[in-house]
């Protein structure tokens, strides 16, 4: 037979110990863990750039680092399951 008084004591202890911040922290970890379980834990492949500004030889137009990210697309964060 389920003892509701005993169960209520556990709920009360939880509500005393936890708050929105600790719940949010737990939730983020939980959702990350579930995502890893589905996709596998990957590694981030760092693409090094010696010089963030690359110049076209003909026009000498600088390309920003943000453009390099756009060129590399998802391969920058290749996932190895």
């Amino acid at each position: 037979m389920l003892d509701l008084n005993k169960l209520q004591q556990k709920f009360n202890a939880l509500f005393e110990q936890e708050n929105a911040e600790s719940f949010g922290h737990w939730l983020a970890q939980k959702q990350n863990s579930e995502l890893e379980n589905r996709l596998g834990r990957g590694t981030v492949e760092e693409i090094s750039t010696q010089n963030a500004n690359i110049y076209f030889s003909s026009a000498s137009t600088p390309i920003s680092h943000s453009n390099i990210k756009a060129f590399t697309g998802n391969t920058q964060y290749a996932m190895a399951a």
């Binding site: 037979m1 389920l2 169960l7 556990k10 709920f11 936890e18 939730l27």
Partner: protein
């Protein structure tokens, strides 16, 4: 008052081998969190097979005997129902800062479990309203509850066996 034990039903997609034990849900939207889910009504198990377990074109319905003595029964037990409402509402108020759109009931229940609140119970019985039109008396009036049990303690599940398999519509 809890009815114990109960005959309940689990739906699975049909696989090469018949299962010898139930499978815990992997559904990230499962309302009652991680657990072994069983239907109270065989017709709901069939409806779930026809509409949600369609990956292989066939589904299976398993039957099991479940000891519900230590289950939080929010469907048939008024005291349990009020207890459940009270604590869910306290949790929403305490943890969500009125932002209820970014959380599912699954995570509230998973939090209870992982913080050991549910250590003393074997499962939670819950209900919603089915979208099965066969349960309409008049359009959109559902006269039947759709009842599910999430089992957290697998030792209360016995006599798990295949009842039948069928083709999805």
């Amino acid at each position: 008052m809890n009815a114990s034990p109960r005959e309940m039903y689990q739906t699975q997609e049909k696989r090469e081998q018949v299962l010898s034990s139930p499978i815990a849900t992997t559904n990230p939207n499962a309302w009652l969190g991680d657990g072994y889910y069983f239907w109270y009504d065989e017709k709901d198990a069939i409806w779930w097979g026809r509409t949600a377990k369609r990956n292989t074109g066939h589904y299976e319905v398993y039957q099991a005997t479940i000891n519900c003595e230590n289950v939080l029964d929010t469907v048939f037990n008024e005291e349990h129902y009020k207890f459940w409402i009270s604590n869910i509402e306290r949790a929403l108020s305490k943890f969500l800062n009125n932002d209820k759109n970014n959380i599912s009931l699954k995570y509230i229940n998973d939090f209870f479990k992982e913080r050991n609140v549910f250590d003393g119970i074997d499962g939670v019985m819950f209900q919603d309203i089915t979208d099965n039109p066969e349960h309409w008396i008049v359009k959109k009036f559902q006269y039947k509850k759709r009842i599910q049990l999430a089992v957290y303690n697998s030792t209360i599940i016995t006599n798990f066996a295949l009842r039948f398999d069928a083709e999805c519509d």
